[in-house]
């Protein structure tokens, strides 16, 4: 298991030898600094806390500033913990770079999806659209939301509302290339969130079985 924090840079494509193009997302990850080490006997669980991207002292709250001071690291913008099964071998101040992953690995990428504002049921929940012609007045409306017999609405009835800006995980993306010098990671496929959005890249929890070839 490995975790690294970073930002989404954007997408492009790269060609394979046989001419097929693969859409890839470029992620600028790390270097991340271990800001805290959590141990079973002390905290009730094993984990390391990673920090990404330096930030001015002024930008962090005083409690956090104290936390960074204790660890003797520069204040970071983005902090996340990686849960470990065993006692962590890292110590505070260790640097984690993009080379924790190698080309061919499978990773899960966690990000915050793009905000879409107040969206209707078609965009938000994938409802069907009604006909536009033949006298139909029900084009993008959700339709009936309940019946007299069923009584009032069920909780969780899918309706229009705020959509996006959710924690979203995309699983099992293949790492195409790793550039530890430039702190870049190329993964095949798309990644949630806008460009410059924060992402967590971690070893895939349910890695696909590698092809026999």
């Amino acid at each position: 298991m490995a975790l690294i924090l970073g930002r989404k840079v954007g997408m492009t494509q790269i060609f394979a030898e046989d001419g097929t193009a693969t859409g890839v997302t470029v992620l600028a990850v790390g270097p991340c600094v271990v800001c805290q080490v959590r141990k079973q006997d002390q905290d009730g669980y094993n984990a390391i806390q990673l920090g990404f991207e330096d930030v001015r002292d002024k930008r962090v709250t005083k409690p956090l500033l104290g936390h960074f001071k204790k660890a003797d690291v520069a204040p970071k913008r983005f902090l996340r913990e990686e849960r470990l099964a065993e006692e962590p071998t890292h110590s505070v101040g260790d640097v984690i770079k993009a080379d924790v992953f190698a080309a061919g690995d499978y990773v899960d990428v966690v990000g915050t999806s793009k905000g879409r504002g107040f969206s209707g049921t078609i965009k938000r929940h994938g409802f069907q659209r009604g006909p536009e012609t033949h006298g139909s007045m029900n084009v993008r409306a959700p339709g009936s939301i309940s019946t007299k017999r069923r009584g009032p609405l069920f909780k969780g009835k899918r309706m229009p509302g705020r959509y996006g800006v959710d924690r979203t995980t995309v699983k099992n993306l293949r790492v195409v290339d790793v550039d530890a010098d430039k702190n870049l990671l190329l993964v095949a496929g798309s990644v949630p969130g806008p460009k410059n959005g924060f992402v967590q890249v971690q070893t895939a929890r349910t890695a696909p079985v590698k092809a026999a070839s």
């Binding site: 840079v9 954007g10 997408m11 492009t12 494509q13 790269i14 060609f15 394979a16 030898e17 046989d18 001419g19 193009a21 470029v26 600028a28 430039k182 870049l184 190329l186």
Partner: protein, 158 residues
Amino acid sequence: MDLIREVEAKYGKKRLPVVHVGDTVQVDYLIREGEKERVQVFNGTVIAISGRGINRTITVRRIVQGEGVERVFPLHGPRVQAVRVSRRGDVRRAKLYYLRDRTGKRTRVKELLGEKVRREAAAIKAADEAAAAEEAAEAAAREAAAAESTDEAEAVEV
């Protein structure tokens, strides 16, 4: 954005053929026939150039047995080995989609002639030769380095 350009520079071709909309080109395209690979040449007129960076493609149109055929070639694609311009075209549009509605003699594109074209052609040729020379030099350097390393290995054995 700059990081994207850097990544694309790493994966794309170092030099792209210089083509313009309206040019008549021959595209050398590597195709697979069973087990064998061979180069197929596609002749035609460039009717559109689209995409930026590594996504850049050209759309080439030709008439085969009275039927219009269009193929889109990714310029950075490894299967596209060369794009040779045989004739520059004098056009006023960025996309020549109007050629699709035309048949026979009206599908012709006027040739772009003049001093500027000759100068550009000469510049491209010079750049091509320089690149070829550089590549040859690089290959020679690699070979020399390889030879040296084997020499050393032999010396160690002795």
